[in-house]
Each structure stands twice: as structure tokens, then as C-alpha cells.
């Protein structure tokens, strides 16, 4: 019995530590591209295999629609254009009839993969499902009706300008009414996209084939295989060993190595995603605005971009990167790197230098930064911040936790600061700012409460005029910049590696869709 325990411990850990290579290989072999196996009609060159970190967990668009939308199996009512604006999708046109009523004209001549025609009536079941789901609870939709054969009318409880942007989300992807079973669940993702669902292995891979009579252009390959591979090194290795044609979200530092290898190329592009510090405004020391500003002056964001992010991306000023979206404000005052300014702000706030760490009334300036390691660069950035804050008199502890644990603990209890990363525009509307700084609806946990910000956000939600909305969101961004409940650090650059024979791939900034219907293989 003793024997078993010791050997098992050793063995288990050996697999954990030194046998990682084996583990990766194993993980990969579970979801191989069996699809080129004998008996498959398609020539190998007609199959494109894509690997990204997200595993396919559900066939239901309400749960996993964003993934089915990315690989062009399902299509939503509206799409996101390359300039991060709302563009036609299955609805060719849309208009606001009055404050709370919106009309969408459905595209003519579209059929679902099972042959059902797309009409207002066949669109209603999935739209209603979507707007009734919990994940879209923040969208105040009151009713979804058919006005005529090709026209859908959506009414909201309150005037809600961001509605079209929410109609680009994965949940609103249209599926054939035959795919919805009697109990309301989804049996198969029967959509309208250029690829149609063939089979999947829950949690690992999806196989889709070209739709013969797709209503748009493409697709140009016969078969699309999607693999969810959590580990970025595994994705890279599989790309290099020809098991993947496209590996998404690779570490920044691999961009150069990929380019230098024959047969591979790298695409780098900025996405509307930010890394930022969320401060706890309800507890010392970050309840004091001067201490928060001091942090922002003490952190050298350019050095982080240059040294940690391999020079890819840029230091953030506000929440939105200006070269991606017009909602960015260009007159925001950036927090320049200035440790002396940080020191004087801290002294002003009563934190006096006393040895290595500053103190105030016997309390030392000790803070804990929580972050998580599923986004690979965050722990390293946290250590740089730790070092730079020590320079101005903070005592910083970095704690790595599960992201879910951080959310839970930061929402329920007090914390100091969280280093987080998220999309700032996953639906293309600046109403996303409400998730960060609205006192009641914010999903971020800073505890920021500002009446003006709340009022501006609510007004901008109601107003339909774009310029008027922009003014309000701009003002919100300026106030947030001054008050720093959230300190924006850097934007995000994605690295996608492809085999060099993949043509026609154009990265989409919001990644709402990979647009794989446009790619071809040269072989």
C-alpha cells in the first residue's frame, strides 16, 4: 500500500512537471483531424483546420453562438464590419421607427441548411429564444414580432440605441425552427452560414462542410475543421507539425519565429481588447484618487509594451483603441510615466516615505494585485508593475488566482487591485462602458459611483443621434480618466499563425467572425 502511494505521487507529478511534452501530445491526439482518412471524398487540400483556445461546449446559439458565428456556421441578424461598426447580416436594412420600435428587413432568398426558407416567421423562434435568455437579460427587449413576410419588428421596454449592436451577438444567430425541439433546446446548429454543421466532439472539435447554395460569396474550401486547444504552445506546435492550417492567439513573441520559418506566416493585428487595473474604491489605499493616479504615473506602459509584449500593440490611454473604433476620444489626458509625480501624489495623500515602504498613521502602503494566468502575459506584467510600484514606495504582493475566483471574491469582498483583460467592444457599441463604470449595471468590481457618469450613460442609451451619443460617451471617458476607477494599461495585439499556402485571410479586429469562407489553399 505504501508502495502504491509513493510511486503514484512520483508518477503523477512526473507527468505533471517533466512529462509535459507527452501530455501535450496526448491532448492533441484526442482530437486529430481524422477527416483526411481513407473513405473521405475530399482531397486533403480542400480541408482547412483551425485551432483556437475555445472549446466547443454547446450546440445552442444562446450559449455558444459566438463560436458558431466565428466559424461561419451560424449568422446573426447583423454583423460587425472591419471598422468595428454594425453592418448588414441576415437583415439587409434596419431602422428605428420610433423610440422603442425597430424594424429589420430580412435578406431575400436565404435558406437554412435544412432547406427551410428564411422568413420573418422562421426567424422568430430563435430571436425570441435569444432575447429571453439570461445572457441577453441586459437588453430590454419587450417583443419580437413579424410585420410581414420579410420584416421583423423588435420593441424595447425603454428607448435603447445599442439594440443593433446587440443584434450582432452570437445569441441572436438564426437557426432553423426545426432545430429547436419541443422543450426549447437546440438539437443541431442548423444555420445559414457558408459552412454547415456536420459533426462535433463536444469540448474538442467541430467538422463543417461547405454550403452548396450559400447566399453570399464563398466558401472556397470543402471542409472546415475547428479544434479547441486550450494551450497556446500546443497550438503552435500543431501548426508547425502541419496538423493545423491556422493557429489563433499565439504568444506575441512567436510572431517573429513564425515569419522566419518556411511555409508559415504570421498575422498580427490590434483588437479592441485592453489590459487594465481595476481598483477597489471602497477600501484603503485605493479609495483615494491620488493614490490611484500615483499608480498610473508610476507604471511605465511603454516599457511593458516594448519588453513584455515584444513591441506589439500600444500603451492604452482610454478604453478604446483609436485606430480601431471611432468611439475613442482623442483628447484624453494620458498618464505619463513620471515616478516623481507619483511620489509627490502619494506624499500629498499622506503616505510618507519611511524606509522602503510608505506609511500613513502606522498603516503601511501594502497592496495586493490579483491576476490570473490563462492570459499568458498578465503574470509577467503584474511583476513589472510590482517592481515599478516598489520604486515609488508601495509594497506589492502579486497573487495568481483563477479568474472566476477573482470575480467572485472581488465582487463580494474587499480587494486592492485586479489586473484584468477583456474586450472593450465585444458588441460594437460604446454602451459597453456601462459594464465598466455604471454604478448599478457594471460587471467590473471597482465600486465606482458617479452620478454624472450614470446620467450620461443612460442618456446616451436613449438618444439616437450618433454625434449626441458620442459627446456623452466622450465625457464619460474623460471623467473616468480623471477618477481612474480603472487604469487602462495596454491594448492587445493578436498573433495568428497560418500555413503560407492559406490565401485570402484578413483578420477581423473584433474577431466576431474569422471569415474563413474567403480563404483558399494554393496546393
Amino acid at each position: 500500500m505504501v508502495d502504491i502511494t509513493r510511486r503514484q505521487t512520483l508518477f503523477g507529478l512526473a507527468t505533471g512537471v517533466s512529462g509535459l511534452g507527452g501530455y501535450w501530445a496526448l491532448g492533441g491526439d484526442l482530437a486529430p483531424g481524422d477527416d483526411g482518412a481513407p473513405g473521405d471524398d475530399h482531397a486533403e487540400s480542400d480541408t482547412v483546420t483551425v485551432g483556437s483556445p475555445w472549446t466547443p461546449d454547446s450546440l445552442d446559439p444562446v450559449v455558444n453562438g459566438w463560436l458558431w458565428r466565428r466559424i461561419s456556421v451560424l449568422e446573426p441578424l447583423l454583423t460587425v464590419d472591419y471598422d468595428a461598426t454594425v453592418a448588414p447580416g441576415l437583415a439587409t436594412d434596419w431602422r428605428r421607427v420610433d423610440d422603442v420600435t425597430w424594424e429589420f428587413d430580412l435578406r431575400e432568398g436565404v435558406t437554412f441548411h435544412d432547406g427551410t426558407d428564411l422568413t420573418a416567421n422562421t426567424a422568430l423562434p430563435s430571436l425570441r429564444r435569444a432575447f429571453e435568455s439570461n445572457s441577453m437579460a441586459s437588453v430590454p427587449v419587450e417583443s419580437v414580432e413579424a410585420a410581414d413576410d420579410q420584416r421583423v419588428v423588435i420593441r424595447t421596454d425603454t428607448p435603447f440605441s445599442p439594440l443593433p449592436a446587440h443584434c450582432t451577438r452570437g445569441q441572436t444567430c438564426l437557426i432553423s425552427p426545426t432545430a429547436i425541439t419541443d422543450d426549447g433546446s437546440v438539437s443541431e446548429p442548423i444555420g445559414t452560414g457558408p459552412f454547415q454543421f456536420e459533426r462535433w466532439q463536444q469540448g474538442s472539435s467541430i467538422t463543417a462542410t461547405a454550403t452548396a447554395d450559400y447566399h453570399g460569396s464563398g466558401p472556397r474550401v470543402e471542409t472546415l475543421v475547428y479544434e479547441g486547444i486550450t494551450d497556446d504552445q500546443t497550438r503552435r506546435l500543431k501548426l508547425e507539425s502541419d496538423e493545423l492550417d491556422m493557429a489563433r492567439i499565439l504568444p506575441n513573441e512567436t510572431a517573429d519565429t513564425l515569419e522566419s520559418r518556411d511555409g508559415l506566416s504570421a498575422h498580427t493585428y490590434e483588437i479592441p481588447r485592453a489590459r487594465y487595473l481595476v481598483f477597489d474604491l471602497d477600501s484603503s489605499p485605493f479609495s483615494d484618487r491620488r493614490v490611484r493616479s500615483a499608480v498610473m504615473h508610476a507604471v511605465d506602459r511603454d516599457a511593458i509594451v516594448e519588453n513584455i509584449l515584444s513591441g506589439l500593440g500600444s500603451a492604452a490611454v482610454g478604453p478604446f483603441p483609436s485606430n480601431i473604433t471611432d468611439w475613442a476620444v482623442d483628447d484624453l489626458e494620458p498618464y505619463e510615466y513620471n515616478p516623481d509625480r507619483a511620489r509627490s501624489l502619494l506624499s500629498e495623500a499622506g503616505w510618507e516615505q519611511d524606509g522602503e515602504t510608505r506609511t500613513r498613521d502606522g498603516e503601511s502602503l501594502s497592496v495586493s494585485i490579483w491576476t490570473y494566468n490563462t492570459r499568458p502575459k498578465l503574470p509577467t506584467i503584474a511583476q513589472v508593475i510590482q517592481r515599478q510600484l516598489q520604486e515609488v514606495g508601495f509594497d506589492v504582493e502579486v497573487t495568481l488566482m483563477e479568474s472566476a475566483t477573482i470575480k467572485e471574491q472581488a465582487k463580494s469582498g474587499s480587494f486592492d487591485a485586479v489586473l484584468w483583460s477583456s474586450s472593450v467592444l465585444w458588441y460594437p457599441d460604446p454602451d459597453r462602458l456601462s459594464d465598466f463604470v455604471h454604478s448599478e449595471t457594471a460587471t467590473m468590481f471597482s465600486g465606482f459611483e458617479n452620478e454624472t457618469v450614470d446620467r450620461l450613460l443612460e442618456e446616451a442609451r436613449r438618444t439616437s443621434d450618433r454625434d449626441e451619443r458620442f459627446e456623452r460617451y466622450a465625457e464619460v471617458q474623460r471623467i473616468v480618466q480623471r477618477e481612474v476607477p480603472i487604469g487602462w494599461l495596454t491594448y492587445y495585439t493578436n498573433v495568428v499563425g497560418t500555413r503560407a499556402d492559406i490565401d485570402g485571410y484578413r483578420p477581423h479586429p473584433t474577431e466576431s467572425c474569422y471569415h474563413l469562407e474567403n480563404i483558399t489553399r494554393q496546393r
Binding site: 500500500m1 505504501v2 508502495d3 502504491i4 502511494t5 509513493r6 503514484q8 505521487t9 512520483l10 503523477g12 507529478l13 512526473a14 505533471g16 512537471v17 517533466s18 509535459l20 497556446d232 504552445q233 503552435r236 504568444p251 513573441e253 512567436t254 519565429t257 516599457a303 516594448e306 519588453n307 513584455i308 494566468n373 499568458p376 503574470p379 509577467t380 503584474a382 511583476q383 513589472v384 510590482q386 517592481r387 504582493e397 502579486v398 497573487t399 495568481l400 488566482m401
Partner: protein, 296 residues
């Protein structure tokens, strides 16, 4: 088994000579001893001779390959890898010794009580031990460390909690064999207290197998600490811990092989060293005890 051997007074000298004999005749044992001694020296004096600070960042010198000034290169924050390994050795060995110590003390105590008291006490304690042994140790440690939250102290706690059962079982079986031996019976008949019997007659006779188990165990604990730190439950940045270094260097596998290989090789050599030493210690025990120790 001769009478002299079970005489506690005579054992030490006896085993000392056998230890030296074994080590002289067994090359692997020599390797084990050398590795462990080297590690101990490194852990104690290494950090004193290194010119660098293990946590001081130097972004101008990040990811430098091995060179005379940085024999094992620098990491993604420009820290000297060798220095971090040296401090890491101190940490790893310290933790391993501490955790193994706790396991040993708790396990031995439980084993002595169970074996000597017998009856329902024995029954209750041994069922607890069975339960612990039935669980895969590392899974249980994962759960405990996960629940307590990520920190090195919690990892030590978790590893200590899951590991003591083997000691209890080993000590108990030895005590069961010893309790009816003449020298114990006579001590009892002479009216010696229980404490006296346990301390003077039982403990000296179970020390040897327990020490062997502990030596073999140290390697496991080092691996356990590194493993749990690797997945983020243990040492927090910027602590120079081997498992953490391995984990953070992993993304640079292609550009900077030294980031992964250096701590990886360190872990391997250390664990190997302790296992070789443990094996040779086991061989040094008498044939009967040696057979018993084969189970370890």
C-alpha cells in the same frame, strides 16, 4: 535476527559501519550522497556568492542566452536564471525538509499510538490512514491547496496533510512486531511506564526505516511543490521557485530554451539524488528489514 541487533544500545555503531560500507561499494549510492551534499551546500552558500538579486528586474537584459556573466542566461524580466535557481534550491530543500519533517513526526506518532495501544484506537486510526492512502495523494493535495488559496504555505500544508499516512502504517507494523519481543516485555514487567517503553525501546527501533522512507519522500515533496507551483497554486511571483520558473518559462520554449531546461534539470537531479540516497540507505539495513523496506 540476532539479539545484538535489536539491542538499541548497539545499533548506531553497527549501522554506521554498514552505511559506509554500502556507500563505498555502491556507485549509485555515492552519486546520491554527492548530489544531496552538493545541493545542501548550494542551497546554503549559493545565494551568498551570486552577484545578482533573484527578483531584481533588468528589462534591458531580458532573454539573454547563457554567457559568462549569466551562465544560465536571463529570463523574460532580465533576471539571472542561475541566481534564481540557487535561491530556488534553498526554497525547495527548505520546504521539502519541513514538509517531510511534519509528515514524519505526525505519521510516527500516529503509528506508535496505533501499534502500541491496539484495540479500537488502532482500528480507528488505521481506517483513517486507509482512507488517506486510498486517495491519490496529488489529487487530494490539489483540492486542499485549491480550497485554501494559492500560496506556498498552503501547498506545504496540503502536502503535509496527504503524506503522513505512509509513515503511520510503516511505524505501526514495526511496533506490532516489536511489542511482543522479549526486551519490550521485560521492560514492561519491570514496571516501566508506557512512555518509557515507547521512547526508550520502540522509537529507537523504528527510526531507521522511517529515516529511509523520509529520504525517499523528500524527492516526492520537491516534485509535489514544483508541480503545484507549476499550475499556479504554489509560490507567487516573483518568488524564485523551480516549478513557477518552469511554468513561466514555458511560453518561451522556442526562443529561450534555458528558461525551461534549467529548472527542469534541477528538479530532475534533485529528485534523483534523494531517491538514490534513499535506496542506498535502504540497502544498508539488514536483509530482513531490507525485505520489509522493499515495500517502500
Amino acid at each position: 535476527m540476532s539479539a545484538t541487533q535489536s539491542d538499541p544500545q548497539q545499533r548506531p555503531a553497527d549501522s554506521r559501519s554498514r552505511l559506509t560500507d554500502t556507500i563505498r561499494s555502491n556507485r549509485l549510492a555515492q552519486v546520491g550522497v554527492v548530489v544531496v551534499l552538493l545541493l545542501a551546500v548550494t542551497a546554503v552558500f549559493g545565494p551568498l556568492v551570486s552577484p545578482y538579486d533573484p527578483v531584481e528586474q533588468n528589462l534591458a537584459h531580458q532573454l539573454e542566452p547563457p554567457s559568462p556573466s549569466h551562465p544560465l542566461g536571463t529570463d523574460q524580466l532580465g533576471r539571472d536564471v542561475l541566481t534564481r535557481l540557487l535561491y530556488g534550491a534553498r526554497l525547495s530543500l527548505g520546504i521539502a525538509v519541513a514538509v517531510t519533517g511534519v509528515r514524519l513526526v505526525v505519521g510516527t506518532a500516529v503509528g506508535l499510538v496505533a501499534g502500541y495501544a491496539g484495540g479500537w484506537v488502532d482500528e480507528a486510526l488505521m481506517r483513517l490512514v486507509d482512507t488517506l492512502l486510498a486517495f491519490p495523494g496529488i489529487v487530494l493535495a490539489l483540492v486542499i491547496a485549491g480550497v485554501l488559496g494559492p500560496s506556498l504555505v498552503n501547498v506545504m500544508l496540503a502536502l503535509a496533510v496527504v503524506g503522513w499516512a505512509s509513515y503511520a502504517r510503516l511505524v505501526r507494523s514495526n511496533v506490532l512486531a516489536l511489542r511482543n519481543r522479549e526486551f519490550v516485555t521485560s521492560a514492561r514487567l519491570l514496571g516501566r511506564s508506557r512512555t518509557h517503553v515507547v521512547v526508550r525501546h520502540l522509537i529507537p527501533n523504528v527510526v531507521a526505516p522511517v529515516v529511509v522512507l523520509a529520504t525517499l519522500d523528500i524527492g516526492g515533496v520537491i516534485l509535489g511543490t514544483a508541480g503545484l507551483s507549476f499550475i499556479g497554486l504554489g509560490a507567487q511571483p516573483p518568488t524564485p521557485e523551480w516549478g513557477t520558473m518552469l511554468a513561466s518559462g514555458r511560453t518561451y520554449l522556442q526562443q529561450a530554451w534555458w528558461l525551461v531546461n534549467a529548472p527542469g534539470v534541477c528538479i530532475m537531479i534533485t529528485v534523483l539524488g534523494f531517491n538514490l540516497l534513499g535506496d542506498s540507505l535502504r540497502d544498508m539495513l539488514s536483509p530482513t528489514q531490507s525485505a520489509q523496506m522493499e515495500q517502500l
